[in-house]
Symmetry: C2
Amino acid sequence: MNYSEFQKVIQYYRKSNAKEAITENRKEIRVKKEKTVAKNLQRIFEATLKIGNKKGFQAMSMRDLSDETGLSMGALYAYFASKENLLVMLQRNGRDNFQKILEDCIDEAATPLENLHKLIRTHVYFSEAMQPWFYFTYMEGKNLKKMERKIAVDHELHSDNILSTVLTKGEQEGAFKKLPHQLTAALIKSLLNDWYLKRWKYAKMDVSVDDFAKYVIDFVESHCLVKKSGN
Amino acid sequence: MNYSEFQKVIQYYRKSNAKEAITENRKEIRVKKEKTVAKNLQRIFEATLKIGNKKGFQAMSMRDLSDETGLSMGALYAYFASKENLLVMLQRNGRDNFQKILEDCIDEAATPLENLHKLIRTHVYFSEAMQPWFYFTYMEGKNLKKMERKIAVDHELHSDNILSTVLTKGEQEGAFKKLPHQLTAALIKSLLNDWYLKRWKYAKMDVSVDDFAKYVIDFVESHCLVKKSGN
DNA sequence: GTCTATACACAGATAGAC
DNA sequence: GTCTATCTGTGTATAGAC
């Protein structure tokens, strides 16, 4: 799989994503017509990511958001109860989606090494396709209230676990070295996160999304793989 | 070198740091008495880091800062011209210090491998000692105005270069593999950054600062080192 | 050098017309 | 369903007393 193949797969997720955002937040949204909600909610999300990533969510005023979306402030508040509620909607929705897509990576019939490859590639490609959301969510995590913050942390630990489970299984099968897999998983995650956090840097050195995924795989394999002597 | 040894070395930097913060910003600071400035400026910096890291710099009000420092709002404005100026002072000062300490790592007489070790250990230990500043600076970078932002980016690229220069030298001497060193440097940086960005996670898995430095060194060496057959 | 009191701009949010 | 107009709280910043 490379990135251009991945883009086709992602279409399905994008659509289901939009619908879920509506059904999950039906009670906060005062507007009735599904079509209108779908259209405007997406506009609002995109505008929030755009402004939020430029100057930070706290610094974004509702007037900024009004200008960017073309909706009046009165209209905006028909789609969410408060500014904080908008933040929660935006983060929660993406997270659920991301978790699902990572879980779908694991193929019980495949080898741990194959699963590791798929996890890394999917992480890089998905964060490339949804870069603004990933960047926003990473940076604005601390603006969440206690309860939502805990959910965010749980999701992060869960995705670390998906990685470390694969590493542990690989060790049992003799493909990976015996290492502190949880720590390895955390470090792999930091490499993966860098793709959307420091995109400007990789653009500057002309590293494509496929180059990056390949190089991270090499990096991780150098460390984790059992080298078969004589091969 | 381990962390407890490093803590003695760092004392010198802490002191010179405080003095530089004053001389570099003498014109913005209206208060004359050196002693008073030294004491209060440090209080202000610490309070800013504390509140800023909890809720973000934008969300920190000057009233918050007044409560935390015990200084009135009027007094605060004797130490900086505006809230934005406070941000710039805080970031700039730490950056200069960090750059100096990294440059001091490089010992021309030592091998590239030794220099790589020293760079990694110093990065981890220094960011441990000054974690609030590192976290703050990473997260609040986007709140800087264009010019200051450019300086921040230049510093980041410069520290990447220190790493990649060592890798290149090591390749020439036959110790390291031929690899895209700039990319490798960026990835090593992302591992190092994770120590102060996700400290809670490493605390949770009971990884000490020395454990972490060691494991990052192992990880990087697996990838970069030329394996001598028969050793 | 630090305080209190205050200016005044702008934030988030809502009521009620259309 | 969306708009305009407006309420009220809070933000940064400063003037002037001590």
